[in-house]
Structures are given as structure tokens and as C-alpha cells.
């Protein structure tokens, strides 16, 4: 009798325990589904808003490279060609864009074209000097307002005074579409140009290079210092109060808000050392300070994970401590350290606040070619574009987010690859 009661109790308890198990499994599953849904929504928003930025609108323009208008002759030297009066050619081309345009109409037509058209007309001529005294049909970049209208990003059913293009301009655009004088092609400008006030010719090349240079600086500064610090702390430092204090503070440093590092950069690197403002050198140094604790923590964890027997084995055959550490322990800890480094770099790539403090938020229309040239960085570029009023920058910021996400994705892929490739078993 007693025995059967105990048995029942055990069975009911067992049921309760397996129910608990199930419940927990469902909680986990729901949490995962929720986060996945949020992620999908985020990516969907970004992609649906941003994919149009990879296309630009171009317009067919007939250009008459008349030598009188250009003030050139077929025998002009290359230098003279550079100084040709291309703006006059462009003016003429726009005047004749539609037949019988009045002066005020010409003004309206002019606004359908990008400011970059002058340069495009010039470049076409410089590439093909033999076209002098001929009429050429050239595809040139349309103004962002036309671009946005054709992409359906700006609406035409709002009152005229709230539109960028008035009714006459709309009718011109419709005429162009009818005559097939306008089309959408791959937007190479987005990948080859730096920032611009004009959305149609703004690109991420400048900020991408800026980010690359910044990350390079971060890596060069933080990786060796972090490895040195972790190896010393883990393998050589005596265990006493001071090293304990240092260890605790490294962990604290990892939790310091990044803007504080930006202020440090502003106060020390710019104002005391007088390093050039807005440059990847300063941005990278500031971000390196921020990345250091991350790498040190990762490196120390991987050093700790190396079995002490490996070090003992090396010491037992008569290796010095330095030899044992650098021949055996450090190489084994390297994959983990590299993974930590890449995660730290990925963190640095997405950081905006400290860069704003050291002036990397300036408007830089050039692609930087070195560490000491002013430049933007991808996250700051996104920030700048999101803030801009022009509609054309909206899709640009979404597209720039895609670029930074792909950049991050690739960095993480490298981290996973390194981890799998060099992971060792002992």
C-alpha cells in the first residue's frame, strides 16, 4: 500500500518534470522565432528602401561639339582641350533638348539634369577627341528629382507647390519616357564617388575607404598591444594586488561608453598632440582604445584555454619561459585571439559617436588616399544622409546600411573561417 503511493508520487513528479522540460523548450523556440521575425523585418525594410539606390536614371542628350562653341580646333593640344568651353556646349544642348523652348522653359529643363552633366560631356569629349564638329547622342545623369519620380519614391499627385518638379517639368519627363530618351542603369556612382550635396552623384566610396583606413589603424594599434598585454598578464605577471587591479580595470574599460573615448581623442589627440582633425589616423586611434579591452579579454581567454601540459612539455625539454609561451601557447591561442580581434574590429566599424567627437562627421567630397587625409566613415555617412532633407538621400542611407552590413557579414565570415581552419584538438 505504502509502496504504491510512493510510486504514484514519483510518477506524478516525473510528469511534472517532463512538462517543465517541454515548457522551457517552447519558451526558447518562441524567443528564437521572435528575434528572427524582428531581424527579417529589419532586413526587409532596409532592402526594400535601399535597393533602388543601386540604379540611376540617365537621359539621352544630343550634344553638338562645335569647334566655334568649344573654342577649340581639331589640332588643339590635350592641355587646351581641358580648357574647352564645355559649359557652352551643354547650354546649347539643353536649349535644343526640346524643340521651341522659351527662356523660362529652358530654366526648367536645366533642372532635369544633374550638375555632373558638364563633366560627363567633357569626359566624353576627352575620351573621343575625334567627335569634334559632330553631333553626339550621350547618356547623361538625370537630376535626383527626376530619378526619384521615375523610381516612384516621390509622388506626383500632391499639390504642385509641395513637389520638387512642377507640372511643366512633369510633362517633360513623361515626354522623355514616351520617346525612350530616359532609362535606368546600374548606379556606378554609388560605388565610385564620395559624398556630395547632390544625391544622384553621392557615393559610399569615400566613407568606405575612410572606414577601411580607420580599421587598418585600429588593427595596427590594438592587435600587437593587446597580445603583448594579455601574454604578459596571463603568463608572466606576478599574481598580486596590482595585476588584479589592472585586470578588473580592463574589464571596466570594455564597458566605458564609446563617446567617452571620443572625448579623450578630442582632448588629447587633437588638442594636446595636434593630430589632424577628421582623419582615419585619429579615428582609428580612438577606436583602438575602445577595441583594446575586447581583444585583451578574448586573447586572455584563449591563452587560458591552452592546456598547461603543452607549456609544461616545452619547459621540460629545456625551453625558456619565453620560448615555451611564444612557440607553443601563443600560436595555439591565436585563432581565438583573431576571432576576438575581428569581433572587436566589427564593433569599431559600426561605431559612430567617438568619430563625431573627433570631427569625422565633416562633409568630405573626396575619396581619402591616406591615413592623414580627412575622411568620413560608413556609419557617420549613414548618419549624415539620414539627416539630409533631400528625398534622394533616403535610399542612399538604406543602401549604405546594406554596404556596412555586408562588410560586417564578411568580417564575421572571416572570423568563423579562421576559427574553423585553425582550431586544434589536443
Amino acid at each position: 500500500m505504502n509502496n504504491s503511493i510512493a510510486k504514484e508520487k514519483i510518477i506524478s513528479l516525473r510528469k511534472k518534470r517532463s512538462l517543465e522540460d517541454m515548457r522551457f523548450k517552447y519558451y526558447g523556440f518562441t524567443a528564437m522565432c521572435l528575434s528572427l521575425a524582428v531581424l527579417v523585418f529589419l532586413l526587409y525594410t532596409i532592402f526594400s528602401k535601399g535597393y533602388t539606390a543601386f540604379q540611376k536614371t540617365i537621359v539621352l542628350l544630343e550634344v553638338d561639339y562645335n569647334q566655334e562653341v568649344l573654342k577649340l580646333t581639331p589640332d588643339s593640344s590635350d592641355e587646351d582641350m581641358e580648357k574647352g568651353k564645355f559649359f557652352r556646349v551643354k547650354k546649347q544642348a539643353i536649349e535644343n533638348f526640346f524643340p521651341d523652348l522659351s527662356k523660362s522653359d529652358i530654366k526648367l529643363v536645366k533642372k532635369l539634369f544633374s550638375t555632373n552633366v558638364d563633366k560627363e560631356i567633357k569626359d566624353y569629349f576627352l575620351d573621343n577627341p575625334e567627335v569634334i564638329n559632330t553631333k553626339q547622342q550621350i547618356w547623361v545623369t538625370a537630376h535626383s528629382d527626376v530619378d526619384q519620380l521615375l523610381k516612384g519614391n516621390s509622388r506626383r499627385d500632391v499639390p504642385e507647390d509641395r513637389r520638387k518638379l512642377n507640372d511643366i517639368q512633369l510633362s517633360y519627363v513623361d515626354q522623355l519616357v514616351e520617346e525612350n530618351r530616359v532609362k535606368q542603369v546600374f548606379n556606378n556612382f554609388f560605388f565610385t564617388k564620395a559624398d556630395s550635396r547632390h544625391p544622384e552623384i553621392a557615393g559610399v566610396a569615400g566613407s568606405f575607404m575612410g572606414s577601411l583606413f580607420t580599421l587598418f589603424t585600429v588593427f595596427i594599434l590594438s592587435f600587437p598591444i593587446a597580445i603583448g598585454a594579455s601574454v604578459y598578464l596571463e603568463e608572466f605577471a606576478p599574481k598580486n594586488r596590482i595585476t588584479e587591479l589592472i585586470e578588473v580595470n580592463i574589464s571596466n574599460l570594455a564597458a566605458v561608453p564609446s563617446i567617452v573615448f571620443g572625448l579623450l581623442g578630442l582632448g588629447v589627440l587633437l588638442n594636446v598632440f595636434g593630430l589632424p582633425r577628421s582623419t582615419p589616423l585619429v579615428g582609428g586611434s580612438v577606436l583602438a582604445l575602445m577595441t583594446l579591452p575586447t581583444i585583451i579579454i578574448a586573447c586572455r581567454a584563449s591563452l587560458k584555454a591552452v592546456p598547461p601540459s603543452i607549456k609544461e612539455g616545452a619547459l621540460a625539454v629545456g625551453a625558456t619561459k619565453t620560448q615555451a609561451v611564444f612557440h607553443h601557447v601563443v600560436p595555439l591561442a591565436l585563432p581565438g585571439t583573431l576571432t576576438g580581434t575581428i569581433i572587436g574590429l566589427a564593433q569599431a566599424l559600426g561605431e559612430t559617436a567617438p568619430l563625431i567627437m573627433i570631427g569625422m562627421i565633416a562633409f568630405i567630397p573626396n575619396i581619402p588616399t591616406g591615413l592623414t587625409e580627412p575622411s568620413a566613415a560608413l556609419p557617420v555617412q549613414i548618419y549624415l544622409w539620414v539627416e539630409s532633407a533631400e528625398r534622394g538621400f533616403q535610399e542612399k542611407s538604406a543602401a549604405a546600411i546594406m554596404v556596412i552590413l555586408i562588410f560586417l557579414f564578411m568580417m564575421n565570415a572571416i572570423a568563423v573561417f579562421l576559427r574553423n581552419r585553425f582550431e586544434r584538438k589536443w
Binding site: 606576478p238 599574481k239 592546456p307 598547461p308 601540459s309 603543452i310 609544461e312 612539455g313 616545452a314 619547459l315 621540460a316 625539454v317 629545456g318 625551453a319 625558456t320 620560448q323 612557440h327 607553443h328 595555439l332 586544434r424 584538438k425 589536443w426
Partner: protein, 253 residues
Amino acid sequence: MSNSKILANGVDVYYGSKQALFGISMDIKEKEVTALIGPSGCGKSTFLRCINRMNDLIEICKVSGSIKVDNEEIISEKTDVVSLRSKIGMVFQKPNPFPKSIFDNVAYGPTIHGLVDSKNELEEIVHSSLKKAGLFDEVKDRLNEPGTSLSGGQQQRLCIARAIAVNPEIILMDEPCSALDPIATAIIEELIDELRLNYTIIIVTHSMQQAARVSQKTCFFHLGELIETGETNKIFTNPDNTKTQDYITGRFG
């Protein structure tokens, strides 16, 4: 009688405030196998690790007393630990080959000590060390494979080859067979018997049979004290001390 190779006198070891060894004095002869036996935690591994100063790795460990190897004091600040360890090889309880190729495992010691001038010489040392460890025939076709891909017994012999490669005079073995199966154990025991001709060997073991099979001298440790030391035959047949008798007959430990 052969000369004494290692002469320990009044060795005390403290881990922090806890004393692990109490005045150990011992005389270890050249080209003999000395077995250290005793129950777990009795300090035999600690004593072994004093001989090549491996205890330096443990920060709280303090060693006092005197150990002389070839009449040279080694428990001293001035001792050159690196050259001491090149003279005294060590084989650990768990096989610990480097995660490198078999060749590199053995070549590491000679390379860092600069014992070789050419690649051929290095190859020769590696081959002869592997031969002495009785492993060469099994691995000669795959010297470039990782040492960790070998079986446990092979790994342990690889570690012995690695120790031999730097041409030591003494080999310390810390329970070298405890992680191995009986067949691998038998092979290692045979190997120890061969190595005795050239090296002075000190082996820590939990297996009484192993001590009886491979050693000439046996030292019995208990609770950090050296209870009895003597010819293996005598210890196992007619020990002077009752504790020794109790231990080897399996009454405790």
C-alpha cells in the same frame, strides 16, 4: 656500486602554508630505475617535480633543503633551470605531445638548444630518438602527421622520444602509464628496462606490480614523508617498516 647521481637532503616543500614534503633525503644511483610509490597525495610527484624544478611553475610552492645533481646544488636562485631541464628530461602522466607533426615534436628540443647544425643532423637525432623510444618503425612513414593523431601509448613513447632527443642524463616519469591500456603499458615498461642502460630513471607509479617489474630501487612515501627506501626486492618481500608492509599488501592506500 655505481655513483650517486642525485643526492637529496632534508627537502621540505610548502604549498602556501601547507607542508607537502617533510625532510626528504634520498640517494639515487646512476643508471638505475628508482620507483617512488605511495598513496595519492603523499608527495611523490611533488618530489619528482623538485628535481627538474617544475615546481617553479606553481607560484605558492616553496622548496627548501638541498638536492644535488652530479654534486651541483639545484635548489638555489643561481641554478640555471634551462640547462638543468635539458639534463633532466621529464615524461608526464598524460601524454602531452605538441599539436605539431611527429617530427617537429622530437625536433623541438634539439632545435632550441642548438644541438644541430644541419637538417641532416636533425633528422638523424629525430630518427635515433624515435628508435630508442621504440616508435620509429610504427611512424617512419608518417613523420609529418600530427603527434596528436597517434594512439595514447604511441603518444607517450613520442613524449619519451622528445625527452631523449635533448640527450639528457636523467629521465623523470610521472605515472607514465596511468592513462594507458595494459598492452601499451607493457611496451613502455620494456622500454624503461632498455633505457636503464643509458639513463638514470626515476618513476612515480601507483602500480605496485609496475614498480616491482621495472625498478631496482623503491622508495615508499606516506603523508609527505619518506618511510622507507631500499632494493626493490627487499621492499616488496621483506620491508622494515610496517606501513610499507601494509601498503604493499594492500591494507591501505
